[in-house]
């Protein structure tokens, strides 16, 4: 092979490598953005809870639409349902299934509500007691009108328990069905449930 041919082949190899690198960079950055978008592309944050009020809205921008399709496919619009996701406790530490958390709050201003625990793959935990959420029907309010429940690997015995088996990340999703017009207009006015870690993690 002549030096000229060798030089040409080298240029082609570099060009092809750069081109493939560009494709990988484009795809990788897209995946990174849509997986991170719910946390980066947040329109409202109340305590540990973050929500994107453009979810389910035909006017949503390109990135919001992609992020919702990947992370919360088939979301409803704000008038029908508002969604808030917590990935951290109130101290700002990422939620872990091996840790125990006490969640307390007042029923949100909505016709009906629920809080569901999901593993970091956004699917339900394999709960041995079949309890995946606390909601407006199952929540028992104390004398102050507050609900409370516990998430974690072991049943605390003193409150409603949402099992989170395994050693992995997790999120809590708060759904508000038919939120009041006042809350729709001002989502940040929601009195957010607190998420407090209890004891050491398993």
């Amino acid at each position: 092979m002549t030096a000229r041919h060798s030089s040409k082949a080298r240029r082609w190899a570099i060009g092809t490598a750069l081109y493939l690198g560009a494709v990988a960079l484009g795809l990788g950055s897209a995946v990174w953005v849509v997986k991170k978008a719910p946390w980066l592309n947040t329109t409202v944050q109340v305590g540990s809870w973050k929500g994107n009020m453009l979810a389910g809205n035909p006017d949503a921008d390109l990135y919001t639409r992609a992020a919702i399709a990947v992370n919360a496919l088939l979301a409803l619009n704000r008038e029908e349902t508002m969604y808030f996701v917590a990935a951290q406790d109130e101290a700002g530490k990422p939620l872990r299934s091996s840790c125990t958390y006490r969640v307390e709050g007042v029923p949100p201003q909505a016709r009906w509500w629920s809080i569901t625990a999901y593993a970091d793959d956004l699917f339900l935990f394999d709960a041995p007691n079949g309890q995946y959420s606390l909601n407006g029907t199952t929540a028992k309010l104390d004398t102050k009108g507050q609900f409370s429940f516990t998430t974690g690997p072991k049943d605390p015995g003193d409150t409603f328990w949402l099992p989170t088996p395994g050693q992995r990340g997790m999120v809590l999703t708060l759904r508000l069905y038919n939120p009041t017009p006042a809350l729709q207009a001002s989502p940040a006015s929601m009195v957010a449930p607190s998420i407090k870690p209890l004891g050491d993690c398993a």
Partner: protein, 187 residues
């Protein structure tokens, strides 16, 4: 000022091409993701197994084994239907007649939720929707009396009916017949 060498010009164009290509691939992937995910939802193996093309299907109640759509709500009993108005309208009827929350939501093939009807908006009346595409010749088929015309922004789309269930096993006898009133019929 020193003129750029051939090698410098070559690397300049290489990096320019790399940047433009990466940007285009990035935007294309962001745009395509909702379409691709909806395509799998509407045409994928699970959709074929449910046989829900222009007809209603009734998946089992949500459990930890429900892994087709992310963040399934364990408090909702889902019913589904994939519609295609390419060759004519699709009629959607339902009469859940339940005192608690239910809704019927329509999604375009890019995942946009463009229509929702819930129990409050329905005010106790049976649901009767007449789905047509944008620009469809509406004189081809007479819209039945009492049917509400809904224009879908994409010819193919997805219908999701949610029925609230606080305790599925205890409410099964009431909820199952109620949700099975849903019908999607190609005209």
């Amino acid at each position: 000022m020193k003129a750029a060498t051939t090698t410098q010009r070559l690397w300049f164009y290489r990096l320019l091409t790399l940047s433009v290509t990466a940007l285009l691939v990035h935007l294309l992937a962001i745009w395509a993701a909702p379409h691709a995910i909806m395509w799998v939802l509407m045409q994928g193996p699970q959709a074929r197994a449910l046989n829900m093309q222009n007809q209603a299907a009734f998946p089992p109640a949500v459990t930890a084994n429900s892994r087709n759509v992310v963040m399934p709500s364990p408090d909702m009993l889902y019913s589904v239907c994939t519609y295609d108005v390419s060759e004519g309208p699709v009629r959607v009827t339902a009469n859940p007649a339940l005192p608690s929350y239910w809704s019927i939501a329509l999604y375009a093939s890019n995942s946009d939720n463009f229509y929702v009807l819930n129990d409050r908006k329905a005010r106790g009346k049976p649901v009767d929707l007449w789905l047509v595409s944008e620009g469809a010749n509406r004189t081809d088929h007479a819209v039945p009396s009492g049917s509400q015309v809904v224009v879908t922004p994409t010819r193919k789309g997805f219908l999701l009916m949610r029925v609230l269930t606080g305790n599925y096993e205890a409410e099964k006898a009431t909820l199952e017949p109620a949700r099975r009133t849903l019908a999607c019929t190609k005209i």
